[in-house]
């Protein structure tokens, strides 16, 4: 098995606010991230696929195809968007890095022809990232 990772970047804004909680609770839990004007990050997405190397092509998966799928499924809908207001997964879910990684996994799972999605990693900053492997 060989693991192949492709990286992409997107910039988006978000804020954390749960309407089920009081304003004080929101402020206590989310702090500065609760500012309703939002704030932004340059996210880095890493998608790792796993597979056997095709004998003829020498590829686990055509990188160009992976790049196109990542662009179509994720980047086009999230780059320069407000995650809370414009990305459907976050209509009723907080756009934390955890939930963002899960949403991206769900968008990509089943879309990779030939290879198996192994890991989605989302960096919110250099010092914070989340990995998901599709485990329940």
């Amino acid at each position: 098995m060989v693991y192949l990772t492709r990286r992409a970047e997107f910039s988006a804004s978000h804020f954390y606010h749960n309407p089920k909680l009081s304003p004080e609770e929101n402020q206590r839990i989310f702090g500065k991230c609760n500012n309703p004007q939002g704030h932004g990050h340059n996210y880095t997405l890493e998608v790792t696929v796993a597979g056997e190397v095709d004998e003829r092509s020498g590829f686990v998966m055509d990188l160009k195809l992976l790049k196109d799928i990542m662009n179509r499924e994720v980047i086009e809908g999230m780059d320069h968007r407000h995650l809370n207001k414009e990305v459907p997964e976050f209509r009723d879910k907080l756009p934390t890095t955890e939930n963002l990684a899960i949403a991206i996994w769900d968008r990509l799972a089943g879309k990779l022809r030939g290879a198996k999605l192994h890991r989605v990693r989302v960096y919110e900053t250099d010092d914070l990232f989340v990995d998901v492997y599709g485990e329940a």
């Binding site: 954390y16 934390t96 939930n99 899960i102 990232f129």
Partner: protein, 141 residues
């Protein structure tokens, strides 16, 4: 879906690699420059990985503020600008980054109760890094 959140911290500390089990010559042969009796220092980068299903109300595996607070209270006072050889944990073991990884894993694992502590990864320099996930093999990369 289970998520693995990794947060990166840094601290600077000095150490000297010298084993009581070795002769002077063996220490010199084993540790080379790192055996210098005056010690030397590193800017350590520490990554701690915690896991869980994001909380329904907060969307978080654990609140980063709580993890940062734990590091500020428990980890940094002990390690930041310290001499590792002086710490109780390294009284009888050599403060290699292998052993530092184990010590930090146990401090997080035993002390931070708000999420499952999965792994510690330490970069001693840009050129080397160490990972410890307790006495089990790393399943995920």
């Amino acid at each position: 879906m289970k998520a693995y959140l990794t947060r990166r911290y840094k601290f600077s500390a000095s150490h000297r690699l010298h084993s009581a089990h070795f002769s002077e010559e063996q220490n010199q042969a084993t540790y080379g420059k790192c055996n210098n009796p005056h010690g030397h220092g590193h800017n350590y980068k520490v990554e701690v990985t915690v896991s869980g299903r994001p909380d329904r109300d907060t969307g978080m595996v654990c609140n980063l503020a709580d993890l940062d607070d734990f590091v500020d209270r428990v980890i940094m006072p002990k390690f930041e600008l310290s001499n590792l050889n002086e710490l109780e944990a390294f009284r009888n073991i050599v403060p290699t980054t292998e052993n530092l990884s184990r010590e930090l894993f146990h401090l997080f694992h035993d002390g931070f109760e708000l999420a499952q502590v999965e792994k510690i990864r330490i970069e001693e320099t840009m050129m080397n890094s160490f990972e410890y996930a307790g006495e089990r093999e790393l399943e995920r990369r």
